[in-house]
C-alpha cells in the first residue's frame, strides 16, 4: 500500500496534520490565556495570576518550538507531496500563505522579547503590552492558514476558461465562502481546548494533593474561559452547518448519513450503516438536521444519493462528526455545572471524581479538534480542490513516499516523547510552592 504514492501521500499528510494540530492549537490558544492571566494579575495585584502567566509561558516555549518545526514540515510537505496542487493553488491562494509567514514572524519576535524581559521593565504593564502582538500574531496565523484550507473547500476568486485558471483575484480567493465560518470555528475551538487543557492540569495538581489556592484560581478561571468559548463554538458550529448545506451539501449529507433528500430531516448520531444504507443503533434527534442546515424544522436537506458515487465522501466521517459534537456538548455541560457549582457552593464540583472528569476534558477536547479536522479533510474527498482537482491528480509521482512516512512517524514519536519528558522535567523541578517562595519569600497558601 506504501507503493502507491497517492495513498502514501495522503497518509503522510494525515500524520503530519494530526500531529501538528495539537501544537498549533496550543500555539494559538495559550497566548490569549497568558494575556488574560497577566492582565488579571496586574489589575488585582495578585501574584498568583502573574505566576500563572509566567509558568504557562515557560511551558509554552517548548510547545512553540515543536509547533514551529512541524508547521515548517507541513508547509514544505504541501509542495513535496502535492506538487500539482501547489502549482495550481499557488496561482490563486499564495497570498494568505505568504502573509501567514509575516504573522508568525511578528509573533516570534515579540514572543522572544516577552520571554526574556520579565525583569527588565519597572512598569509591569509595559511587559504585558508585549503579549498583544504575540496573541494577534498567533490569531492571524490561524486566520491565514485556515483561509487556505477553506479555499480548498470552496474555491473562489478565478474563472476557468478552456481548462485554465484565469482572472485570478487573490483577495476574493482568500475571502471565499467557507472562510468566515472556518476561521472563527478554528479560533474559538483553539481557545476552548487550551482553556480546558490548562484546567485539566490545575485539576490534576489538586487531585495529586496540592491544595494550593494557586491551582484553584487557575482552575476556576480556565473553566470560565473554556465555557465561554465552548458556547461560542457551538453557535459557530451551527453556522458551519448552514454553510455546508449551502456550499458543500455532500459533506453534510455524508457526515449525517442523510441519504435521501427530505424535509424535516432528523439528526443522526453514531449508529452503524449497512450497504443498503440502513442505519441501526443510532440516536435520532427529530428535525434537528433541518434546523442545523437551514434554521427551520421543515427545511429540505439534500441527500447523499443526489451526488454521483465517485464524488461522495467516505461514510466514516459520520463518526468524526459525532465525536466532535458529543465532546463539545459534554464540555459545555461540564464547565457550566462547574461554574454554577462554585458560585452556589455545591460540594460535588470539588470532589475527586468531578476533578477527574475535568482532567479527562483536556485530552477529550484535543480529540474533538482531531475529529473536526478529519471530518473537514476526509469530508472533502475525493477532491483536494473541491470540484476542480482530485487528490489522485494532485499527488506526487515520485517514489519513496512510503519510506518518508516511516521517517516522519519516527520523528513525531521522538518529538512527542521529548515534549512530555521536558515539560515534566521543567515543572517537576519547580513546583508552584517553590516558585512562589522564590518570588516573594513565602506567602502562606
Amino acid at each position: 500500500m506504501f507503493d502507491d504514492p497517492v495513498y502514501a501521500s495522503r497518509l503522510l499528510t494525515l500524520l503530519t496534520l494530526s500531529f501538528h494540530i495539537i501544537y498549533a492549537t496550543i500555539g494559538v490558544g495559550v497566548p490569549l490565556m497568558i494575556m488574560i492571566a497577566q492582565w488579571i494579575g496586574i489589575k488585582k495585584n495578585d501574584m498568583h495570576y502573574i505566576m500563572m502567566a509566567r509558568r504557562w509561558a515557560k511551558g509554552f516555549v517548548v510547545t512553540v518550538a515543536v509547533g514551529v518545526v512541524t508547521g515548517t514540515a507541513i508547509g514544505l510537505q504541501l509542495s513535496l507531496l502535492w506538487p500539482q496542487f501547489m502549482e495550481l493553488a499557488g496561482n490563486i491562494i499564495a497570498l494568505p500563505l505568504f502573509m501567514e509567514v509575516f504573522a508568525f514572524f511578528f509573533e516570534a519576535i515579540f514572543l522572544g522579547i516577552y520571554l526574556y524581559t520579565w525583569d527588565r521593565f519597572d512598569n509591569p504593564k509595559k511587559h504585558f503590552l508585549l503579549l498583544i502582538p504575540v496573541a494577534i500574531g498567533a490569531g492571524m496565523s490561524a486566520f491565514f492558514i485556515t483561509a487556505v484550507n477553506s479555499f480548498m473547500n470552496s474555491p473562489a476568486g478565478f474563472d476557468i476558461v478552456n481548462g485554465q485558471l484565469v482572472n485570478a483575484n487573490p483577495i476574493a480567493a482568500m475571502f471565499n465562502p467557507s472562510m468566515p465560518t472556518k476561521v472563527t470555528h478554528v479560533l474559538s475551538t483553539a481557545y476552548m481546548t487550551v482553556a480546558f487543557m490548562l484546567a485539566a492540569i490545575a485539576a490534576y495538581r489538586l487531585i495529586k494533593g496540592s491544595n494550593h489556592v494557586y491551582h484553584k484560581k487557575a482552575l476556576y478561571m480556565t473553566m470560565k474561559i473554556g465555557l465561554v468559548f465552548a458556547i461560542a463554538t457551538a453557535l459557530l458550529g451551527d453556522l458551519s452547518g448552514k454553510y455546508l448545506a449551502e456550499y458543500q451539501p455532500e459533506k453534510l449529507a455524508a457526515a449525517e448519513w442523510h441519504f435521501e433528500t427530505e424535509n424535516e430531516a432528523p439528526l443522526i448520531m453514531f449508529g452503524v450503516v449497512d450497504e443498503n444504507q440502513e442505519i441501526s443503533y443510532a440516536i435520532e434527534i427529530p428535525l434537528m438536521l433541518s434546523i442545523l442546515a437551514h434554521g427551520y424544522p421543515s427545511a429540505e436537506v439534500t441527500g447523499l444519493n443526489e451526488f454521483p458515487e465517485e464524488e461522495q465522501p467516505p461514510l466514516i466521517i459520520h463518526y468524526y462528526f459525532a465525536i466532535m459534537v458529543t465532546i463539545g456538548v459534554f464540555m459545555i455541560g461540564l464547565s457550566l455545572v462547574y461554574w454554577f457549582g462554585i458560585r452556589r457552593g455545591w460540594p460535588f464540583v470539588r470532589a475527586q471524581w468531578y476533578r477527574w472528569l475535568i482532567v479527562l476534558g483536556g485530552p477529550l477536547s484535543f480529540l474533538a479538534i482531531e475529529a473536526g479536522w478529519w471530518l473537514a479533510e476526509r469530508g472533502r474527498q475525493p477532491w483536494i480542490l473541491r470540484g476542480i482537482m482530485t487528490v489522485d491528480q494532485a499527488a506526487t509521482t515520485s517514489d519513496y513516499v512510503g519510506h518518508m512516512f516511516i521517517l516522519f512517524a519516527g520523528l513525531y514519536l521522538v518529538l512527542g516523547i521529548g515534549t512530555v519528558v521536558v515539560l515534566r522535567k521543567i515543572f517537576k523541578n519547580d513546583p508552584v510552592e517553590k516558585e512562589l517562595e522564590k518570588l516573594q519569600g513565602g506567602e502562606p497558601s
Partner: protein, 341 residues
C-alpha cells in the same frame, strides 16, 4: 524592473538573510555542543546561549519565507522542485525539526544535557549540507523528464564532485560565518577567553572556505558551461568578494575591529551570493524552468509585493527592537540583569 525580477530579487535577498542568520545559529549550536562535549563549556556556552536564546525562531522564519514565497511567485517550482526534492527535502525537514526541538529541549528544559546538545549541534551542521543539495540540482544534469514527470537521478547526484564541493562549502561557510560573528559578540561581552577561542576557529575555517568556493567555480566550468561563462562575466564581483575576505582575515589576525571584520564578511558573502544568483539568471532549474516561464499571474504578483511591503513595514521596526534589546544592549550582552525602562 519586471515583476519577475522583483520577485526573484526579494526571495534571493531573504535567502541571503537566511544564509547569514542561519549560519550564525547553526554554527553556534555546533560550537556549543563541541564545547560541552569537550568540557570547555565554561568558556563558550554562556556567550552562545545569551545570543541564541531570543533569536532562534526568527531564523527559521527566513527559511519558511523563502519556500512559501517561491511557490507564490513561481508556482511551477512547486511542481518541478516539489517532485524531485521529496527525499532530500524530507531529510532536510527532519533535521530542521530535530534541531529546533532539541534546541528548545536543551535550553528550556535540560540545560547542559550532553545528548540534547549533541543532537542539535550535529543536526544543525547537517541542515546546510542537505539544503545545499537544492543549489546543486538547480545547476541541471541530474533531472530528466520521464512520462512528463521530472525524475531525480540519485546516483549521478551523489557521485558528482560538484555535489560534495557544495556540501563542503556550506559546512565551512556555516562555521566560518558563525565563528567570526561570535568572536565579535564574545568581544562585546568582554569575555577574553571566548573571544580568543572563537577567533582561532574563525581563522581556521577561513582557508577551507575559500578553497571550497574556488573548487566549485572550477567544477562548474565542466558541469554547466553556460553558467560558468556568465560567472566569468561577473568576475569583478567575485574579485571584490575575495578582497573583503582578505580584509576580514587580516582584522582577525591583528585582533582588532571585530565588528568591522564581521561587516566585511557580510559584504563578502553578499557579493558572492548575488554574483552567483545573477549569473544563474534566468534559470531556476537548468534547462527546464526559467523565472519567466514559471511566473505567477500579474494580480497575484502585485498582491504579493504589496503584502511584502506592508509586512516589512511591520517587521523592520520589530526586528530593530529585538536587536536593540538583545544584540546591542550593553547590559544584556554583558549579562547584567539591571532593570531599565
Amino acid at each position: 524592473m519586471s515583476l519577475e525580477l522583483i520577485g526573484i530579487s526579494v526571495l534571493w535577498l531573504f535567502l541571503f538573510g537566511y544564509v547569514i542568520v542561519g549560519s550564525i545559529d547553526y554554527g553556534a549550536g555546533f560550537f556549543n555542543a563541541h564545547s560541552i562535549i569537550t568540557g570547555k563549556q565554561h568558556i563558550l556556552s554562556k556567550v552562545i546561549q545569551r545570543y541564541l536564546s531570543p533569536v532562534w525562531e526568527v531564523t527559521n522564519v527566513f527559511f519558511v519565507f523563502f519556500f512559501v514565497g517561491i511557490v507564490g511567485f513561481f508556482p511551477q517550482t512547486a511542481y518541478y522542485f516539489g517532485t524531485i526534492l521529496l527525499v532530500p527535502g524530507s531529510i532536510g525537514l527532519i533535521l530542521l525539526a530535530i534541531r529546533g526541538s532539541y534546541y528548545a529541549f536543551e535550553s528550556y528544559g535540560a540545560r547542559g544535557h550532553k545528548g540534547y546538545a549533541f543532537m542539535y549541534g550535529a543536526s544543525g551542521l547537517l541542515i546546510p549540507a542537505s539544503l545545499s543539495i537544492v543549489l546543486t540540482i538547480s545547476e541541471g544534469g541530474f533531472v530528466s523528464i520521464v512520462d512528463d514527470n521530472p525524475v531525480l537521478d540519485y546516483a549521478a547526484l551523489f557521485t558528482s564532485p560538484l555535489t560534495w564541493s557544495i556540501v563542503v562549502l556550506s559546512i565551512a561557510a556555516v562555521l566560518y560565518i558563525s565563528a567570526v560573528f561570535l568572536t565579535w559578540y564574545a568581544f562585546k561581552t568582554g569575555d577574553d577567553n571566548a573571544t580568543e577561542l572563537m577567533r582561532k576557529y574563525a581563522i581556521g575555517w577561513s582557508v577551507p572556505l575559500i578553497i571550497a568556493a574556488s573548487g566549485i567555480i572550477y567544477e562548474l566550468s565542466f558541469h554547466n558551461e553556460e553558467h560558468f561563462s556568465r560567472m566569468i562575466d561577473l568576475w569583478w564581483m567575485f574579485g571584490l568578494s575575495f578582497l573583503l575576505w582578505i580584509g576580514t582575515v587580516w582584522l582577525l589576525w591583528k585582533r582588532t575591529r571585530y565588528g568591522v571584520a564581521f561587516g566585511l564578511l557580510v559584504g563578502q558573502f553578499a557579493l558572492a551570493f548575488f554574483a552567483y544568483g545573477i549569473s544563474h539568471y534566468p534559470y531556476l532549474l537548468y534547462p527546464y524552468l526559467t523565472i519567466y516561464e514559471g511566473f505567477t499571474n500579474t494580480a497575484m504578483a502585485i498582491s504579493l509585493i504589496i503584502a511584502f511591503i506592508l509586512g516589512m513595514a511591520l517587521l523592520l521596526p520589530s526586528l530593530y527592537l529585538l536587536m536593540k534589546l538583545f544584540l546591542f544592549d550593553k547590559n544584556y550582552v554583558q549579562g547584567n540583569n539591571s532593570k531599565k525602562e
